[in-house]
Symmetry: C2
Subunit: 194 residues, 2 copies
């Protein structure tokens, strides 16, 4: 397709968003072009605002507007839940039962992507274990997440701190018939007595 | 979900894009936050560029950076293809067989949406019929598009100008913007005189 230069440029930039192809980017570009002037300006301002005013919490690595995030500022750091990314905190906070703090690794160990233990925030985690009673490893239940959890567990367990891993099993509301073998095996193995 | 204010704001703005819900908007927001500084700036610049430098062609109503679009500047206006929106031109130009010019109505007659003949660029079309041999009505093959085509045909046919309608090779209720080239080509070739 041939677009005039400013449109082609905006479509190219929007195509960089996750799972956005040229057709979707073109739809967005036309919408931005058709929108009221105030909407276009609000979008630009919001992008600027996010880039300028969202930082990582100095303690846990979560997104924050200030120096320390609201969670670190208000909760007792006796339990630390370790996650891959700040967005995982948003998901876990929906549960509401958890009252501890978090630690964002900003990545997971992945030899294929050349990400080693020193490339993620493991040192920073080790540096804040004073007085900590439990470390919950809540990395994703995939190969890299599992390897990262095992690596961290081996470092922390010798310090006499309780180390746990979030449970793996059948997702709530799922159907056994369609569950994959790995999930079913894990669900069977970690069955709990009623 | 609870997001810090700048993120919540960006998610709200991105949710205004077509078919973008909160979850998709959040994915985009995180991507914009994670992107290199140059990418975020390029996106902002591209939005500004589109808003500041894309205008409507003075003659046909197509998108243009200048006063007159490239098509109007270079082609003989003996055949005018009438479309609803500038994006329809992008789609029709892919066919390559068409060598005439366009006229963008910037809407279609739609009593439900309170859009009458005077609200779209019909007067402007009538004003440029001098020397025109054929007017191809290429509005969408839906109720409004069909009604608009019939309305325009009734105005122009008495002037002794050939008026055609793109063939209904297009699936009923579909949108020109997303039609495949083959279907569009067939629709153009088998246009019928009204």
């Amino acid at each position: 397709m041939k677009y005039i230069q400013p449109l082609a440029r905006l479509i190219a930039e929007l195509s960089k968003l996750p799972s956005v192809g040229e057709k979707t980017a073109a739809r967005y570009a036309y919408a931005i072009l058709d929108a009221p002037e105030s909407d276009a300006e609000a979008l630009i301002d919001a992008i600027k605002d996010v880039r300028e005013n969202v930082h990582f919490c100095r303690i846990c690595g979560n997104f924050t507007e200030g120096d320390i995030c609201e969670i670190c500022a208000t909760r007792k750091p006796t339990t630390i839940c370790v996650v891959k990314e700040p967005r995982d905190i948003t998901a876990l906070e929906k549960v509401k039962g958890y009252t501890g703090v978090y630690h964002v690794l900003h990545g997971v160990i992945s030899p294929i992507d050349r990400v080693g233990p020193d490339d993620i925030r493991i040192k920073e985690l080790l540096a804040r274990l004073d007085g900590v009673e439990e470390v919950i490893l809540a990395t994703n239940p995939d190969v890299e997440g599992e390897a990262t959890a095992m690596y961290i567990a081996r470092l922390i367990k010798p310090l006499g701190i309780k180390v746990t891993r979030i449970a793996r099993g059948l997702p709530e509301g799922s159907v056994i018939e369609y569950a994959d073998e790995g999930t079913l095996m894990r669900a069977l193995r970690s069955r709990i007595e009623l």
